[in-house]
């Protein structure tokens, strides 16, 4: 009756980023081989060392088998049916300024709420926009250059700063790391590169906006952030994709390096297309994210809000190598309809007096399955290592699931570990209580969920916290009957 009307309205407006940009693209044929790896490298005019690195990765990948230990289920992926390179055709290779960027692309980002024109820019945020396999625009570059911050597409970094790329590429996630990271190492097409020189506090938020547009394309981008001694950067990434019936693979790698006293704050608002009400279509988000606190007193903080993707499978992690270094992980993961998530973190304590904090909030609705999986490891030399973990699950309805797999390995007896966990359910009686006070069921869910996620949202930069709250509301619309 009345309920049905609202539900159908909700379905229509459910995924607002689901449009397709009609733009001519340069695709290579589907399939993966050494030739494809070489072709990608040639297209990007890469130096020999990088091609060699890709080929090593590819050959290693051939020896690997796809992992199956995760708590998610999907049909086998046919790696030969994926297109590994797709780029919007542009007049010139790499536009020099926004004036040269295809207006259709600018329009796409405008529609997504990420205006690339600097006059309409997001206040104080520099954006690198990645469209399918390539970076189409990076804003505010000149302003960043004044303080020595390098922020550009990965391809440009290879051309203009090869020494930096060569030094740090694969230093945190080696090409042998895992099935999907190895695949990425062989075929990665673009991504963002960011270098903060010694003692510099990056004057604005840096951000990459990833957009998958082409059908049958895999997106394999690579992000590398290096923060030199005493520097600071806050980095944000956002992701969307059109609504398509088939699943698309997104296998990215993010590497962060923090040297002495450096701080990196990495925030993600992930809104890849989650598939439809019946679980058809959507992105497989199989991503390797890892940061290394290489220097003393360095700090890496991950904040993620995962509302999209058919399957999310990732563990943004910290290797706490430097003494007194700090790792943090704040996560909100939402699964609605038939979405699945197996996400968490790894905190590897190596240095002395290293500290880590984990706050994970999993929300399951519909038939969603949400798994927290985390490892805290205190190495034998990690004197006085400390970890605090908190894993909370919230269930909406009675067909969803929440699972928690916390692994703790302690090899040093001076370690202090704390672990808290809770599972709660939004009950009909709670919803009715809100309604009886004049608040609609939708608003009730949104208030309860936002309250549940408060601790994580406060870690996000302000404008993204607002965005994340809205996104969460949209993701859960229609989850109460």
């Amino acid at each position: 009756m009345k309920q049905d009307v609202t539900t159908s309205e909700i379905i229509e407006r459910e995924y607002r980023a689901g449009f397709v940009t009609d733009i001519e693209a340069e695709n290579i044929p589907a399939g993966l081989s050494e030739d494809v790896v070489r072709l990608i490298s040639t297209k990007k005019n890469e130096p020999q060392w990088l091609l060699d690195w890709r080929l090593k990765a590819y050959r290693h990948w051939l020896t690997m088998t796809e992992p199956r230990w995760q708590n998610v289920h999907y049909a086998p992926i046919d790696y030969q049916s994926i297109v590994y390179y797709s780029a919007p055709k542009q007049a010139k290779k790499g536009p020099k300024s926004l004036a040269e960027v295809d207006p259709k692309l600018l329009e796409t980002y405008e529609k997504l709420g990420v205006p690339l024109h600097e006059r309409a820019r997001l206040a104080g945020v520099a954006v690198d926009a990645v469209f399918d396999s390539v970076s189409v625009a990076t804003t505010f570059r000149a302003k960043l250059e004044e303080v020595g911050v390098i922020f550009c597409s990965f391809s440009e970094a290879v051309q203009n700063h090869p020494e930096l790329v060569k030094k740090w590429l694969g230093s945190v996630v080696p090409y042998t790391d895992n099935f999907f990271a190895t695949l990425n190492s062989a075929v990665f097409s673009d991504g963002s590169f960011c270098y903060i020189p010694k003692g510099v506090r990056c004057p604005m938020e840096l951000s990459t906006y990833f957009r998958i547009n082409s059908a049958n394309t895999g997106q394999f981008e690579r992000t590398l952030i290096v923060a030199e001694e005493g520097s600071y950067v806050s980095y944000l990434e956002g992701c969307t994709a059109p609504i398509r019936d088939e699943n698309q693979l997104h296998a990215a790698v993010v590497e962060l390096v923090a040297l002495d006293r450096a701080q990196i704050k990495y925030s993600t608002v992930q809104n890849w297309y989650p598939g439809d009400k019946n679980g058809k279509g959507g992105i497989y988000n199989f991503v390797t994210k890892r940061g290394k606190c290489q220097g003393k007193s360095s700090k890496i903080s991950w904040t993620q809000v995962e509302t999209g993707s058919a399957i999310t499978w990732k563990y943004p992690s910290c290797i706490l190598q430097g003494d007194d270094s700090i790792g943090e992980f704040y996560s909100v993961a939402v699964t609605n309809n038939y979405q699945q998530a197996d996400t968490g973190t790894k905190m590897i304590h190596i240095g002395k007096n290293t500290r880590s904090t984990i706050v994970s909030k999993g929300i399951s609705a519909g038939h969603g399955q949400n798994t927290y999986r985390g490892l805290v490891k205190i190495g034998k030399n990690a004197e006085n290592g400390r970890n605090y973990s908190q894993c909370d699950s919230l269930l909406v309805g009675d067909k969803c699931g929440a699972h928690t797999f916390p692994y703790i390995e302690v090899l040093n007896s001076t370690a202090q570990m704390e672990h808290e966990a809770s599972t709660s359910k939004i009950g009909e009686d709670q919803i009715f209580y809100f309604q009886q006070r004049g608040i609609s069921a939708e608003d009730a869910v949104s208030m309860i969920v936002n309250g549940f996620c408060k601790e994580v949202f406060k870690e996000l930069p302000m404008e993204f916290a607002v965005e994340a709250q809205k996104l969460l509301g949209v993701s859960l619309e229609g989850s109460v009957g």
Partner: protein, 257 residues
Amino acid sequence: MGQKDTMLEVKDLHASVGGNKILRGVNLSVPTGEVHAIMGPNGSGKSTLAHVLAGRPGYEVTKGEVRYKGKDLLAMSPEQRAREGVFLAFQYPVEISGVSNVYFLKAAANAIRKHRGQPELDAIDFLALVKEKAKVVDIDESLIKRPVNEGFSGGEKKRNEIFQMAVLDPALAILDETDSGLDIDALRIVAAGVNQLRTPERAMVLVTHYQRLLDYIVPDVVHVLLDGRIVKSGGKDLALELEKKGYEWLEAPAGSR
């Protein structure tokens, strides 16, 4: 005194919960400005009546009608009823973690104001209102900032209900066993709060098991609900009589079930 308007008119109301017939033809008329008590033994349908009036899902109306200020109450969604001024003080208020009492109440107050075409209150104006109304039931300010009902004692929960009622200023308040679980001091405070909210513009329905509450909140009319039907109505003395004699003497005539 002229003829009072009727706030609530219940006609031949039948309702079931989970397939069990609970209400079997309730007739009730509550004029504006009056306080009516509904008494009855356990299982007579008192709480069901309260929940049906508030529109709780799972409570199915099978027959009859309810007019609230002349409008068809049963056609409204639960939140519409609340916005139109129907308030239910719950017997067992739920806990809602992560949502502060004051934030919850502000959302509620503004949803109601919006419905009435009034401008929404900002945080400052709302806080002033909250401070003023907190005095009604002498509720501690720390409770106002805590998550809704979380970790509240039974008495604090009941006080919080009356506090919410004071803030939301309903036209019709239904109090479901507000006295249950209260010690005598808490009962006095809650009753004093309710009495302050007794105005010529408001009607109240007190659902209660014991006449104890009615020593503090003196009703205009007392109804006895038995087996899903109102079998007797009278003045406040009826409550005292029930206290003495119990309900047996009012048992419904044979063959009526």
